[in-house]
């Protein structure tokens, strides 16, 4: 099942070698496309040569179709793919600044690398300038860091924003790109020769467009696997965590975690509403198994910061395990089950007193831990190191 984690598979040195090879393929492709030449890149903005738009959007659409087709076919787990975090307004402002830099300097960072590598002096100067600009940013960002960190959503897809399925969004993006290619061809034709016809001159273009259309339609029709299907595909990766009980935490560890100010704890209670009303752990939210299939419920859990921990509570262990499976395949990383549910919780704490006084069973204070020997439980919670964020840009 893709994606691989190359650094884990091959170690740092092997992983870096793979990064180098991917880079080499990337650089060679940019060079072959003619992107080492600033005149071709700048021409995009004078409507005479639409190469940049054609190559860029073909690249985006082809990669997008390959990703979501393999995900639809159960070959790739999209929840493990890094999605650029959305900082909407800083991204918009940064994009406008970059557009200006693009037309003034004639390159973007990646193409200037290739241009400099082929001994173009303007590309080299641009590359040096990019480093200077990045340095200037580092020196000045502290004066507007509030804006720079504003309008943030960790993993916000175009499909979430539209309220469409991923398949429908992929199909729409493909159609939009095909429309843009047609418009680009006609714009070039008009600005080069001054004539215009509706015809598509090259049959191979029609065939290529037909192929992209067909794959996009297939991605839409097959659809992305739902969490239940994803568990079937992914249980090889995660089932051992359940079998070895590595994700079942003792009530005492829950108590310790709940009182740890360095951890953001989220507790989901899967019991029936009547039971929840009678007693629940302080701060817990009630959820049904069905609700956990909804990406609007699961996504915020997958986007907790690195010190976020999610604990599932149910008296029926099968329910807790089903909930764990549903959330795990949606990318929730630090996910645990309260061992034995609330019956074991009560068994642990009922009748205990602090300095002779009873305490609130829904939120026992940290000092309750002192009533138990240090080795009363085996700690299981291991915080996963910071999740992959915006890929290689940081």
């Amino acid at each position: 099942m893709l994606p691989l984690d190359i650094n884990a598979e091959l170690g740092r040195a092997g992983g870096n070698a793979v990064f180098f090879l991917i880079g080499a393929a990337f650089g060679a492709t940019l060079e072959l496309a003619g992107f080492g030449d600033s005149r071709r890149l700048a021409a995009q903005f004078y409507l005479k040569d639409m190469t940049v738009l054609k190559t860029m959007f073909t690249g985006i659409v082809v990669a997008c179709l390959l990703l979501f087709l393999s995900s639809a076919l159960g070959l790739l787990d999209f929840s493990q793919i890094a999605v650029n975090q959305t900082f909407l307004w800083p991204g918009i402002v940064g994009g406008l600044i970059m557009g200006i830099g693009f037309i003034v300097g004639g390159y973007c960072p990646g193409t200037s690398v290739v241009s400099a590598a082929s001994l173009k002096l303007d590309g080299l100067l641009f590359l040096v300038g990019t480093g200077l600009g990045a340095g200037l940013f580092g020196e000045t960002v502290s004066s507007f860091s509030e804006f720079w960190n504003s309008s943030f959503t960790d993993r916000l897809l175009v499909s979430d924003w539209l309220g469409w399925s991923i398949g429908a969004t992929v199909f729409a993006v493909t159609l939009m790109a095909l429309g843009m290619f047609y418009a680009a061809e006609k714009t070039e034709e008009f600005f080069r020769s001054g004539t215009f016809s509706w015809k598509i001159a090259r049959p191979v273009y029609l065939a290529g467009a037909g192929a992209l259309f067909a794959v996009a339609a297939a991605v839409w029709i097959i659809g992305q696997p739902d969490p239940l299907r994803r568990w079937e595909l992914l249980q090889g990766r995660y089932a051992a965590l359940l079998a070895s009980r590595a994700v079942f935490i003792d009530p005492l560890e829950y108590l310790k975690t709940a009182n740890d100010t360095g951890i953001k704890l989220l507790t989901l209670d899967l019991r029936a509403e009547t039971e929840f009303t009678v007693f629940h752990l302080a701060g817990s939210e009630r959820r049904t198994l069905d609700e956990l299939l909804d990406s609007r419920v699961a996504a915020p859990l997958a986007q907790l910061p690195a010190q976020g921990v999610v604990v599932l509570v149910a008296d029926d262990e099968a329910v807790a395990v089903a909930a764990w499976q549903r959330l795990k395949v949606q990318g929730v990383s630090n996910l645990y089950i309260l061992e034995g549910g609330l019956s074991q919780w009560h068994a642990r704490f009922a009748g205990r007193t602090l300095h002779g006084k009873p305490f609130d069973l829904s939120r026992p204070p940290a000092s309750v831990l002192e009533l138990f020997p240090k080795d009363a439980f085996t700690p299981k919670i291991k915080l996963a190191t910071k999740k992959r964020s915006g890929g290689l840009c940081s």
Binding site: P3, L4, V18, F19, F20, I22, A24, A25, F26, G27, L32, A33, G34, R39, A42, Q44, F45, K54, T55, F57, T58, G59, A63, C64, L76, A82, Q85, T86, L88, G91, G94, G95, I97, G99, I100, G101, G105, G106, C108, V114, S115, A117, L121, G123, F126, L127, G129, G131, L132, G133, G135, F137, E139, T153, L156, L157, V158, G391, L392, C393
Partner: protein, 176 residues
Amino acid sequence: MSAMNRQPKPVLNPYLAGAILGVVLFASFALTQGGLGASGAISRIQVSATALLSQSHVDRVGYFATVGGGDRHALDHSSVYLFLGTFLGGMLSARLNGRMKIEVFKGPRISSWQRLAFALLGGAIMGYGARFARGCTSGQALSGGAVLSLGSWAFMFCVFIGGYALAYFVRRLWTD
């Protein structure tokens, strides 16, 4: 010497180049969980150059310190290997296709010195914007676009808007 005046080979058809680019991008996601990028590595190289001049300055400026402060080495990151690959891949392709040549690409109406000055200026603006947007055309537009990140799509359209908005005013740099 035939090698000296050998004509550079024509560049690839833009859609074919795009399709190859898409496959490379997909391979990057499938093997490393992440997409392509360039500006992150450039920033890291800049931080390590700054550290050569003054490590204490890198430690003091928060934005630099996160990649190169204390005993962190700014260059010890996979993006730097991707950058080296991009450079050598570009070099190899240019060499094989007869495009390896010292020259300055510019519009017909400006001098080479003017072009170099504007390349440096444009690069600086680009570098500033790329850090502002947390990624460049490769890291944000291409990679984020393929995984349907909303922020990346908004960003991408803004790059084009910014370019088109200014293009008329700087046409002397590029047009006949």
